[in-house]
């Protein structure tokens, strides 16, 4: 058996996991499934593309790539800018739309609005950038042998490392800091948290910034490893939800583990069943999980 699927699965898993963290946080703190979350990945990737282009132009043309990688310092700086931008985009969407609907008795209205917002955001991307794919770099990278028949490019390895750093950092913030404690308090009981003196509005804003920022990074990963398309968010939406439910709603490590399971299962399916059925893998996992253990691997209550 070819073990290469481990690398592909780990990469897809990192992308899905990073996106699923945002989904799981929105679900547990704001109490609705955000169907527009996939669009944050797509908008983040395009934002990084534009920012990198502007930075490159300011630096006066072609910026050399950093030794083994396909990207230069412009993309690293652009990523930070794009992550902040995507967080602000999520905040703006909340301010314009979700804020008015979250307080309604029927929380599902917010889900419906997110569905409409997703449609509008995606079509807007298609309108601005057209549906033809875009790339951060067209340079080809040579994959290096890692043993056991596994190969990986330097880009792939650094992205996996970056994912590990990001997820650890977010996990520490949520478990060890005052902000994290407040987030968990709001997720348990928003009214009680407010009475206890927690600024719920600030926690909501932080949640959107974290979710948007991580989604943006996941989108940039897609852009570096595959390509940037207006529909990339829609294609990833089902894996994101499957990962969040698989890991257990509200759990950040759970979302990452769920993402890795989805990623590895997809990579395995591509090798055994065929690439055209890849998108069905997340659905099969989702249904299986809902049948067996709807609360997820690391979730407490369902």
């Amino acid at each position: 058996m070819n073990l290469q699927f481990l690398v592909d699965g780990l990469l897809t898993g990192s992308i899905v996991g990073l996106g699923a963290i945002g989904v799981t946080l929105t679900y547990s703190i704001l109490r609705f499934s955000n169907f527009a979350h996939g669009e944050f990945l797509a908008w983040g990737a395009y934002a990084a593309l534009v920012a990198a282009g502007v930075l490159g132009w300011l630096a006066g043309g072609d910026v050399a790539a950093i030794a083994p990688f396909s990207f230069g310092w412009t993309l690293i700086l652009a990523s930070v800018i794009a992550m902040v931008f995507t967080g602000l985009l999520a905040l703006t969407l909340d301010w314009l739309l979700f804020r008015h609907l979250r307080r309604r008795a029927n929380a599902i209205t917010a889900v419906m609005a997110s569905f409409g917002a997703a449609m509008a955001l995606r079509s807007l991307l298609e309108f601005i950038f057209t549906s033809s794919p875009a790339y951060f770099s067209r340079k080809l990278q040579i994959a290096q042998k890692l043993g056991l028949g596994i190969r990986a490019t330097p880009d792939q390895m650094v992205l996996i490392a970056a994912t590990a750093v990001l997820v650890t950092a977010i996990h520490l913030v949520v478990t060890r800091t005052q902000v994290g404690r407040s987030m968990r308090a709001v997720s348990e009981n928003p009214d009680l948290a407010r009475v206890a003196g927690i600024d719920v509005g600030r926690i909501v804003a932080i949640t959107w910034m974290i979710g948007g920022g991580l989604a943006c990074f996941a989108g940039i990963m897609v852009g570096l490893l595959v390509q940037i398309r207006p529909y990339m968010g829609l294609d990833l939406l089902l894996p994101l939800f499957a990962a969040a439910i698989l890991g257990g709603i509200g759990s950040i490590p759970g979302a990452l583990i769920g993402g890795l399971i989805v990623g590895l299962a997809e990579a395995l399916a591509v090798q055994t069943v065929g690439a055209e059925w890849r998108s069905a893998v997340a659905f099969v996992l989702l249904i299986a999980m809902l049948l067996v253990r709807p609360s997820g691997l690391m979730g407490g209550k369902s």
Binding site: V111, M119, L124, F127, L238, A280
Partner: protein
């Protein structure tokens, strides 16, 4: 010359109305699920696709590159479409209806993606990306005369909508319909009265799915050709906008929303073809979808009731009902 123009106009109007009313069928199914029972189905396109493909496979003549060649009558195709759509809906419902409402949304989204994938990839069954052609058309004998053909189809689709409307109105006013709304408004109270919420939810969900399947079959036999790209999330989104704008919870609103939004969609579509050069049309169409997305969001914030809000239906045995009827009786 003027005659030809006006008959062309009338033909187009009949064609437009028949298409709009076929959307109204799907919208009525969604109204039963969401408007009456509060079930959030994000996979409308998937259930419509199941109906369309089932009916196409059952009724097409032999010789296609897909599964089928049974050559059954169209009515059998419609019945088959409703049955298979109901079965798929029941599967999703059984897995998710006992869980939190969001899970239903996610699972229906997932099944729509998967159904589209099957339509695209299972070439021996669905014809793959090429779709299924030569679907027998209702009144295909009139095809020579476009006006007559469109009018006959319009009459037929309108009849289906009318039958559904009368049937659904009766259901909504029946004790069964009241339980659905009780489940939607206050699950605990419904349970305390001895009604099993999950059973009523499943019944409404499956019946709604069957109606969506019928809508898909009606469309397939009207157009005569189906392909996977007809059943993208855009369709789900259009039907949702129709219901929300028309007035969810109101069957007449569902029909009105279907006609109004399809009218808006067709008008903006012809504006796109008229005012934009061909190479710009894909981008302009994207803006069309974005516009409808904004419209839906605005409606949700500003007028969640839609054009026609839900009417209050109470049992004629209760005091409130007799009070209302007394008042109306006293009117001169």
């Amino acid at each position: 010359m003027l005659d030809l123009f006006s008959s062309g106009m009338a033909g187009y109007l009949a064609f437009f109305l028949a298409t709009a009313l076929s959307y109204a069928i799907i919208c009525l199914g969604l109204n039963l699920q969401w408007g009456q029972t509060g079930l959030f189905n994000v996979g409308v396109a998937g259930f419509v696709a199941v109906g369309a493909y089932t009916s196409a496979i059952l009724t097409t003549p032999p010789g296609g590159a897909h599964l089928g060649g049974f050559g059954l009558p169209i009515v059998a195709g419609w019945a088959g479409a409703m049955l298979v759509s109901a079965a798929v809906t029941a599967f999703v419902g059984l897995v998710t209806l006992r869980l939190r409402a969001d899970y239903l949304a996610i699972a229906t989204f997932g099944i729509a993606v998967s159904i589209q994938l099957v339509a695209l990839n299972a070439q021996s069954i669905t014809g793959g990306p090429f779709g299924i052609g030569f679907i027998p058309r209702l009144f295909g004998g009139f095809a020579e005369n476009a006006l007559l053909f469109n009018l006959a189809n319009l009459a037929c689709v309108a009849l289906v909508v009318l039958i559904l409307y009368i049937g659904l109105e009766r259901l909504v006013r029946s004790p069964w319909g009241r339980v659905l709304r009780a489940v939607r408004e206050d699950e605990e109270a419904a349970r305390a009265l001895g009604k099993s919420p999950s059973r009523y939810r499943l019944q409404a969900f499956v019946l709604g799915g069957a109606i969506m399947g019928l809508g898909g079959a009606v469309q397939a036999h009207f157009i005569g050709f189906i392909a996977p790209e007809n059943y993208l999330p855009t369709l789900t989104f259009q039907v949702w906008t129709m219901l929300i704008i028309g007035g969810s919870g109101n069957n007449l609103g569902a029909i009105l929303g279907g006609v109004a939004i399809w009218g808006l969609w067709s008008l903006s579509g012809s504006a796109v073809t008229a005012f934009f050069p061909p190479e710009q049309q894909a981008r302009a169409a994207a803006r069309q979808i974005a516009g409808i997305g904004v419209l839906l969001s605005l409606a949700l914030i500003l007028r969640p009731r839609g054009l026609l809000g839900e009417r209050i239906n109470v049992s004629r045995h209760t005091e409130a009902a007799s009070l209302v009827s007394n008042q109306t009786d006293q009117r001169p």
